[in-house]
Symmetry: D2
Subunit: 356 residues, 4 copies
């Protein structure tokens, strides 16, 4: 922490601030400058409330220095985290791109299987579909619940796809952890700390979406909540932030990908479907996400988006998904990645290969 | 809903869009203009996915018209909602201003009582204090839990103050509902729809804080979630939104007060403590909140803010609270309000009057 | 400036950064901490490019400390600046509130006089009206130009009102300086540095509106541009910033008023008309502006807003202006201000008093 | 335009609104709905002030429909605009990517030539360098002015590179137009309408940067200002917008590229240097810009960024520029583009080829 004194602060005021800092159990390092004095503070654990010092006389400003996250930081673990899925060659993080595709909501067994078949055939390794939907309106479709979870488990059996689905509270968390391979925590729950802590006690990977107005620090702190409870398999996901810009539903902030990669060892995906809210912008932004260096993308695919019960307008058609895969595959080598096509499952039930 | 066609759209394209709308079960009203045709859509319940229509050929844009909230709207109930507290003269909404004061967190019985005594003496009718704290860092103080709830219940008995405290998940919701008079749902949980629905099934007033990047519509939709389950006693609270501006922790958006009052019958308070994050801006913004027409303010008060376990820098001193009350009292008549001083409790335990 | 090293930075890296700093002619103050080392930099004039240091190996972050403005700062001048208008009792800054009122655009002599008469009668001391209009569309009404300036000069002669009007480029700046009492620089030109410098060479007060996305520092730096050329009479004006919120045209950021007052000696007004863009929010926000401690307000008034050539929807009626003045007058004493009613001009042409 | 009535509006109120609309010379189309009535308005030229109607009794909301830009719109011109540079094979727009590179500021003949040589060798066709710098602080380096323009003209002669440099007011506009090939108008001047109009009267291409908080509509309207004066050669440039996110200097909004391409025929470049403000994010975002479909990129290159007089931290090294070109070249075919390497000038002075 750094305390900046006013230009006209007296030596007595500087001394009083130093005394205050020392009383709090920290060390004060006064540095007289040409215009004003600054005081460095060391020994704190990132939890000194800067505002109190800001109110002392002669103080102009207090600046926080230490980053409050630890387990999520490269300071603690330098090498990239790679999430692996037992019995398969699928992974999130590392050299191979992770492609997650599927409908916004599971609407029926037929719909889910129709889409799963197509995305598996095009080479996706992960299937996403909502069982519990956080909807802005209480009158909107809220998801099929456990029925949807069971449908997705069947999809895993049938196509080998690993399943990612959202938990919206501590109750659904248990169910999702039971049936799915990755638990998604949505943007609106990024600072639902109770949910984060409960997820941290499980031993299932968690896909954590960035909150609509979360800073990089807050995003990593939310990951830290999960990790502080012992679950280190956290996957970050950029899905657009809220700004004044009105040509897309959210503003997809792709620069957070290299920013996360500089500070943290956790993998980061990009969701261009929620990030733009418009079908005609999903492919361009998916290409950009891979080009910027993301560990993969998460897209909504629907075979009949005009009949979708939620998020139809941002869902791409299966044939667009095929195009997207082809485009991404061409960009991958530029960022030293490969695009696996289809999942290989080592098991008595045989090898699943989306392409066959 | 309104569908705007491109300037060069053909009559066939216009017809195709009308047919599509009618097939969805709605009525289409084409309106040819000088430059382009627009098509009005009626009969929808606010749940047509506009994006699908946006993708039809010849369509330039689709604009949503109907507001999706109903119970929170003045369309359904024109007169202002006033929340009353049985056995007392305290109320939120209506002519008398509601003043909610207390520490960010309950830290100990001594601290809570010391502050409660002072705010009661200065005339507050409501006491706030955190039992469960949603903190950005998992390593920060998380609140005393049930112990804090019990301390606040004692404060109600002793000073007559009505108690407002935050629930952070479905588990704590039950406890808060048992011990407190008003359940607070924090900004980070404004779109925790599971929590909103559970709160809607209770019969206790709910203070709902605006999310950090919530639009007016989303804010009212969150209230609608609670109301749609049968709990109509919702109190809104503006607490600052996230913007690029860095001179305050959040940007307090006072214009939402008249905006809410135009659209909704629900009362709205303002929290200048979280709204600015800086002690020296709390009094100016509290005065402004009353001047703009808010139904009251919610402020953090601490007798030793430099030792507070959370939010010390934005907590005002008890003597500043006295000043604030005096300033507010002078502004109140301009907005046709009165400032009650102290709470009157009708009961065998006698009349509580903060001023005595 | 403060350089924060990474947790795993080696002593050699710390030394290399210190050497680099010293080579740039500054002094380095290394401060080893529990987790990491920070290095204070003194002797700089606020112009070290922090990014270069950020790229040195072992560096985590570089934080700027010194504020770059000087003349606008209370560090240089502690007492409040008060702008006085020779031969009158009008002032901006200090104890008396400055009320600026008038139409968005001067549309005709009749329109301007009709409005001027009413605002003068209600007690305004300053008249505003656009001669040159910065309009988003090239096809919209662009103002009457010099003709409007002459009409406003007549209004000064007739009613004693001091005239404030906007200059939009270096050419119009000369004309505005010749005819008006205060030169307005609009939000869109807040960082038109060429215009700021030219305005700094004049000896007329300048009303500088905050840019739509200007931080406090940038706002004060824009004032510094004017002052650095020798014109110290700068009046700041908050007029709303751009955010995601869509219930008002802009989000009026009232907290900047106490923030400016803490850092700078310059007076600050608030414009609730542009700040909200909606007539029904002007009075509430004008009251709030005075309550928060602003030095005055600037409002658009039109006798026939439904026929106004620009900004009709946000212009209040003359009778609303009277109400506003009465409400403000009641709030003024709470913030130790008075509301002068009408302007007193010492001159052979007699005393102007808006009330007579 | 669409007028939405309140749910409880009476038939008389609906009629009164229709009458008002007709009196203004437009046509009213009432559409009774299940919940409320909406009234379509046709015949307007996009300039009805919606606010006045919003104030009529019974009106809930007024929604603007027609886009106010015409010349910049695909409605007027469907095919993409391509800017060509006489006597060369360079172009902006169309199949070949335009790469603009150079230092933030021209600091000396030596510096400019050193950088120009390297970017030409790596294959750039356009050279950028500031002669007049809009700096936030009046005490910062403001550019070499005409001297810089002359240095860049020499660079054109020597390397064949076409020159892009910024004009900051009407005076420098004339000079820039005389010496350069493309006139840049910076983000801070995007709504300096006087400058836009003057640029519109010239017959030189204009590179228009998006303002820090400009919406898509405002961006296109600024282009319209230039075009409305007869200059149709406008190149748009995304350079980041201002948001709450603090990990980059601005948030680069790549989704505006497909959004512009849907609505307008004008070419659009991306500036990842200003868009991020950090060297280590320039290459990832340049790759993403090409992948999303931009017509080219504009980057700051400096051979000694640690000594640069401005924007050093965001300038890449010449060897990074080479890497960037190689990466972009690999991505180009995915978006049906080619990357020309070096410029070919048809002239008596021979063929310039950056690679030779």
């Amino acid at each position: 922490m750094l305390v900046v004194m006013k230009a006209q602060a007296t030596p007595e005021q500087v001394q009083a601030v130093c005394d205050h800092i020392e009383q709090l159990g920290f060390r004060a390092h006064p540095m007289p400058g040409a215009q004003r004095t600054a005081i460095g503070v060391t020994g704190n654990q990132g939890e000194v409330d800067r505002g109190n010092i800001e109110e002392l006389s002669g103080v102009a400003e207090v600046i926080r220095v230490s980053k409050p996250y630890k387990l999520a930081s490269r300071d603690v673990k330098e090498e990239d985290t790679i999430i692996r899925f037992e019995g398969t060659d699928a992974q999130i993080g590392g050299r191979s791109l992770a492609i997650v595709a599927g409908p916004c909501s599971i609407e029926s067994r037929e719909q889910a299987f129709a889409i799963a078949e197509q995305v598996a055939k095009a080479g996706a390794q992960f299937f996403r579909g909502g069982a519990y939907k956080p909807r802005t309106s209480p009158y909107a479709f809220q998801g099929l619940g456990v029925e949807a979870l069971k449908i997705m488990a069947e999809i895993r059996d049938q196509f080998g796809l690993r399943i990612i689905t959202e938990a919206i509270d501590n109750e659904t968390l248990e169910l999702v952890a039971e049936w799915a391979d990755v638990i998604q925590i949505g943007a609106r729950n990024m600072q639902n700390f109770s949910l984060l802590k409960h997820a941290g006690r499980l031993r299932k990977p968690v896909l954590l979406k960035r909150g609509m107005s979360a800073t990089l620090d807050e995003f990593l702190m939310a990951a830290e909540y999960i990790m502080s409870e012992g679950n280190y398999e956290v996957i970050l996901c950029e899905r657009g932030v809220r700004t004044f810009a009105d040509h897309t539903r959210n503003t997809l902030d792709l620069s957070i990908v290299p920013a996360v990669q500089r500070l943290s060892h956790l993998p980061i995906l990009v969701d261009p479907s929620h990030g733009t809210g418009k079908r005609n912008k999903v492919l361009p932004m998916a290409r950009a996400a891979v080009a910027v260096g993301a560990d993969g993308v998460l897209v909504e695919v629907h075979h009949q988006p005009e009949k979708a019960l939620s998020d139809g307008p941002q869902s791409i058609y299966p044939e667009q998904f095929v195009t997207m895969m082809n485009e991404i595959e061409q960009i991958a080598p530029v960022v030293h990645r490969t695009l696996p096509r289809g999942i290989h499952v080592e098991s008595t039930t045989g090898v699943h290969d989306g392409r066959k």
